[in-house]
């Protein structure tokens, strides 16, 4: 796992079609050249519908994400961004459609996937320290019988160093600022040394410096051939710091290079009434991050729906 050269995702990155700039421009309607895209994708979804209870959250989503991509998933509240990540993570079984993650059904390659939930779903009073949380990233690699050893502690040290949280290792997580909390959870993902990052709102509600630093780290990971998929509400961040963007509103409205988020018509189709376009091209968004429906509902159901 720790050898990049052995990582199949790394080799796939070398494929000539992998470079985003060579792909055609906005694949509006998400028409993917099925066979080719699937063969070269780290994450591949075909006509996927999913939801909670009888309430749909995703409809007919098809998308292929190549190894080494830094992808932002944007869209209004309730667009299904978190649901999309949960389907990819194997936490939610789709109603219909086919999913492949790292060349296998979702959940099969779980040890090579790091999923970071939204900050709202975490119990910040939980009696664990920064170091404890980052070490959890190593647990799935250890199996039930082994205790964390020197090798694991080194991974934790490095991850804490990367997010510049080494000095806070022994603090309880509730004592941290919002930005520090996001740093810690990214460190947990880094410590697992995954091939695929699935990050739910990793840069929401944090200061600009932290956002820049976390994006620098994700950029490096993508350059190493790791696939990074992050939901975000921050369109400026998506346009400036991500390689590619998928615009979601239950369906994939558009998927392509990050420059496409600057397209007014696509934004209008993605965000609908949340959007105000002013003459001269300025776009105002009224889409503060909040939950219209209690976030708990999706979480409560995941046990039933978790893939084996």
């Amino acid at each position: 796992m720790s050898q990049p050269g052995e990582d199949p995702a790394f080799d796939r990155h070398a494929h000539p079609h992998a470079h985003p700039d060579e792909r055609r421009l906005p694949t509006v309607g998400a028409a993917v050249e099925a066979g080719h895209a699937r063969a070269h994708a780290d994450v591949w979804l075909s006509q996927v519908s999913a939801g909670y209870g009888d309430r749909p959250a995703l409809e007919d989503v098809s998308i292929a994400i190549e190894a080494g991509t830094l992808l932002a998933v944007v869209g209004p509240n309730g667009a299904g961004k978190s649901t999309l990540l949960k389907v990819m993570a194997g936490l939610l079984r789709p109603w219909r459609g086919r999913v492949e993650v790292l060349g296998a059904p979702p959940g099969r390659e779980a040890a090579r996937v790091a999923y970071v939930p939204q900050a709202e779903t975490v119990d910040w009073h939980f009696p664990v320290t920064v170091g404890d949380v980052v070490m959890m990233g190593r647990y799935p690699l250890l199996g039930p019988l082994r205790r964390p050893g020197r090798h694991d502690r080194r991974h934790v040290d490095e991850a804490l160093e990367q997010v510049r949280m080494s000095d806070h290792r022994n603090r309880q997580i509730g004592a941290l600022s919002g930005g520090q909390r996001r740093r810690v959870f990214l460190a947990r993902a880094l410590a697992a040394d995954p091939a695929l990052y699935l990050l739910d709102e990793p840069v929401t509600g944090i200061d600009a410096t932290t956002q820049e630093e976390l994006m620098d780290i994700l950029e490096v990971e993508a350059r190493r051939g790791r696939t990074v998929i992050a939901t975000t509400h921050d369109l400026a961040c998506a346009a400036q710091r991500f390689q590619r963007v998928a615009m979601l509103n239950r369906r994939v409205v558009a998927h392509g290079p990050a420059s496409l988020v600057l397209d007014g018509e696509l934004l209008a189709r993605t965000y609908g009434g949340h959007l105000l376009q002013l003459p001269g091209g300025t776009v105002l968004l009224d889409d503060a991050h909040h939950h219209d429906q209690p976030a708990g509902e999706g979480e409560q159901h995941y046990h039933d729906d978790a893939a084996p």
């Binding site: 209870g53 949960k86 993570a89 194997g90 936490l91 959940g107 779980a110 040890a111 996937v113 790091a114 999923y115 970071v116 939930p117 779903t121 975490v122 119990d123 939980f126 009696p127 664990v128 320290t129 404890d132 949380v133 959890m136 990233g137 647990y139 799935p140 250890l142 039930p144 019988l145 205790r147 964390p148 022994n170 603090r171 309880q172 509730g174 004592a175 947990r188 697992a192 699935l198 979480e299 995941y302 046990h303 039933d304 978790a306």
Partner: protein, 284 residues
């Protein structure tokens, strides 16, 4: 003072009771550390009450109460999970339905038994001084099993408790761990029934862990802390029970409650003399 400690120890029944009480204190505190963090205190109470019909049934047919209570507790734990999933009900609703139903069944069966029922009252209120050597051996086996499983899976249980989504995405079998944990609660309750009784057993699960949670913000200290409190209060409560001639369940639980209150009031972080900026002090 020494007499006070040594006199009861000359009796074999007291020695057995001491072992049983410490076993219950340790097992409950260990499992209870996760119960408190998962917010499952109500489930612990429910499973304990639901064990009652099993204990009565075992009494009627002359089987060991460990088996009857254990089966009833185990199946009620499974039933709670099943009812909440099938009915798409909130878990606490499912618990309310299952636990009161099972306890009512126990009361009905109990009312049909003719003659002396003092021994059954012991299961409701705890009477560890009456424990037999055979029962103690089976409790040691069951308690040892629970302790071994928790020590083996502590980190998986911790991850699945702290961040079930992240743990499941990383490949941990979170729903299986949830069911396993309900089973562990059930066995833990059976182990503790004779020491503190059905009605009070939830305190054994919750109070030592809650006390430890006041004292530390580190999981690696919470579990040993809770275990030490559980064991010490079990010993202290048993002596109180002997000298006051009171039910052991009541004295153990009251002692735990007293320790909790003392810590709550005197703790530098939460207490009456709490400093400001306490979260920093606690992480030191």
């Amino acid at each position: 003072m020494t007499d006070w400690l040594l006199e009861p120890l000359q009796f074999a029944f007291f020695q057995r009771a001491l072992v049983a009480a410490v076993l219950a204190g340790v097992t409950c505190a260990l499992v209870g550390s996760y119960v408190v963090l998962k917010g499952l205190a109500f489930i612990g109470d429910a499973i304990a009450h639901a064990a009652f019909p099993g204990v009565v049934a075992a009494f009627v047919v002359g089987a060991p109460y460990v088996i009857g209570g254990g089966l009833a507790a185990f199946f009620s734990a499974i039933a709670i999970g099943w009812v909440s999933r099938r009915g798409r009900l909130r878990v606490d609703t499912a618990i309310g339905v299952v636990f009161v139903g099972a306890f009512a069944l126990g009361i009905l069966m109990f009312s049909r038994i003719e003659g002396f029922v003092g021994e059954l009252f012991g299961f409701l209120l705890g009477n560890v001084l009456a424990i037999s050597a055979e029962t103690l051996v089976s409790l040691l086996l069951l308690g040892g099993l629970v302790i071994a499983i928790v020590l083996l899976l502590w980190k998986e249980l911790l991850y699945a408790t702290f961040d079930p989504l992240g743990a499941a995405a990383a490949g941990l079998p979170v729903s299986k761990l949830d069911y396993l944990f309900l089973g562990l609660i059930a066995v833990t309750i059976v182990v503790s029934l004779q020491a503190v009784g059905i009605i009070l057993v939830v305190a054994m699960l919750v109070t030592p862990a809650a006390t430890a949670q006041l004292l530390t913000v580190r999981f690696s200290r919470l579990v040993p802390g809770a275990t030490a409190i559980g064991a010490a209060t079990a010993v202290g409560g048993l002596y109180l029970s002997y000298w006051l001639d009171a039910p052991s369940g009541a004295t153990i639980v009251l002692l735990q409650t007293a320790v909790f209150l003392a810590v709550l009031l005197l703790n530098p972080r939460t207490g009456l003399f709490a400093r400001r900026n306490a979260s920093d002090a606690a992480s030191a």
